[in-house]
């Protein structure tokens, strides 16, 4: 179902949605993949990954058909 970007992650990735990287099978790997592909994302320090609308910890397994969201903190007020 693809990878959805929010907030500044959308700006860094330059897209609201991309195809899910086929080599990735766990949340920790996804983060690593993101950091390598989009180094600026590392500056976020905290980055919420949600799989099928549920917060997903590093060890969680991701399937190709899952909807995965990449949600950074935002501070504006």
């Amino acid at each position: 179902m693809g990878l959805l970007f929010f907030g500044v992650a959308k700006d860094i990735a330059g897209a609201a949605k991309i195809d899910f990287p086929e080599t990735v099978t766990r949340v920790a790997e996804l983060k690593q993949w993101l950091y390598e592909r989009y180094p600026a994302i590392q500056q976020l320090n905290s980055l919420m990954i949600a799989v099928n609308r549920e917060y997903a910890a590093d060890e969680q397994i991701i399937h190709l058909e899952d909807e995965v969201a990449v949600i950074p903190p935002v501070s504006g007020g």
Binding site: F6, Q43, Y55, I71, V74, S75, G76
Partner: protein
């Protein structure tokens, strides 16, 4: 007796609402809410909570109104520029509803005052604009056991949640640590569409009312994202992390920042004269030594342009500062740089000291 009838008449449209009624209105009137920030998010939160009749509303705010606030902070007027937001907000909210007790906390929230201020209220609404304050508010709410209504905005997007409510997740359960470098993310240099904080702030007021009255389903253990460009609303389930609910003390430093980016402003020489007479202005003359010898204003601090950045410590970054040169060009460049450095209220003197000599002081030597 008449007072009582009057009270109920004001809230008649709520109290006749099925599932709300006078008993929920009494819960609102018995409740106290702390709103941190009276800016983009804080203004709609304050307007609607005041209108609906919360018993006591505290405001934490220490900023003044800038013209760049006015595209979204609809409680203030063009004539309010440079006035303290908290006094303006309190006065207007009392006019809207004199039955609400408005408490002014005319300060920034700090590690020194957060627990005391937050501890005095039932519910906290975070309308701040920087990560430092957001983490401080979260931790102080955990320590004092207060539910936290969270809202934050970025460009065309908003995030909403209710943290630390009846054992639910906290801010740190989804974002454990603040970004290391504030450069990219902190504050709002990126800009924001004026109506976005209106939408998110109204949702925050709504969640606050739900918490106080027990109606509906507050966003406990949920993060809602709103994309206003495409009207996409997604709700993510989140899970409390026990350690985050057991914070016992505040961190030493939250790297709080003051966020509204103030643009370089302008002063005519007539306005400069007036401000100098009022006495609340630093005047920086950035011309070279030989120009200074020809003529200068007695109140001016003299730092030639090339040395300003290295000697900026001689200036107060929070107090108004006017920058002067010969014709107003060099001073513009310096003023812009000082704004970028974080000076909060910087003016370029248009036309420079030459305009002063022509319009104000015909005894002054020109060159």
């Amino acid at each position: 007796m008449i007072k009582r009838r009057f009270v109920m008449q004001r809230y008649d449209r709520q109290t006749r609402l099925e599932g709300f009624g006078p008993e929920k209105q009494r819960l609102l009137q018995a409740a106290s809410v702390l709103v941190i920030g009276a800016g983009g998010l804080g203004v709609p939160v304050l307007q609607y909570l005041t209108a609906m009749g919360i018993g006591k509303i505290g405001i934490v705010e220490h900023d003044t109104v800038s013209v760049t606030n006015l595209q979204r902070q609809v409680l203030y007027t063009t004539a309010d520029q440079d006035q303290p937001k908290i006094k303006l907000a309190a006065a207007r909210l009392q006019q809207l509803n004199p039955e609400v007790q408005i408490i002014q906390h005319d300060t920034w929230l700090t590690t020194g005052n957060a627990l005391e201020i937050i501890g005095a209220y039932d519910v906290v609404v975070d309308c701040s604009d920087n990560f430092g304050t957001r983490y401080l508010v979260n931790d102080a709410c955990v320590i004092t056991g207060k539910p936290l209504v969270y809202g934050a905005i970025y460009k065309y997007e908003g995030q909403l949640s209710v943290f630390n409510y009846q054992g639910g997740a906290t801010y740190r359960c989804i974002f454990p640590e603040p970004p290391e470098s504030g450069e990219m993310l902190n504050c709002s240099e990126i800009g924001v569409l004026g109506v976005l904080p209106g939408i998110i702030g109204c949702y925050q007021a709504n969640e606050t009312v739900k918490i106080i009255t027990g109606i509906g389903t507050p966003l406990k253990n949920q993060l809602m994202t709103i994309d206003t460009l495409h009207n996409t609303h997604l709700t993510f389930n989140i899970t409390p992390v026990a350690a985050n609910l057991q914070i016992q003390r505040l961190a030493n430093n939250y790297q709080q920042t003051v966020c509204e980016v103030n643009n370089l402003q302008s002063l005519s020489v007539q306005q400069l004269q007036q401000r100098l007479q009022q006495g609340n202005l630093q005047l920086l003359d950035v011309r070279e030594e030989d120009e200074w010898e020809i003529c200068h204003l007695p109140q001016a601090i003299h730092i030639p342009m090339a040395q300003v950045l290295s000697r900026a410590a001689a200036l107060q970054p929070d107090a108004p500062l006017a920058v002067l040169c010969h014709h107003g060009m060099r001073s513009r460049a310096v003023g812009q740089r000082l704004v970028e450095l974080g000076f909060r209220d910087v003016y370029n003197v248009e036309g420079g000291i030459h305009a002063w000599a022509c319009a104000i002081d015909d005894q002054m030597q020109t060159y």
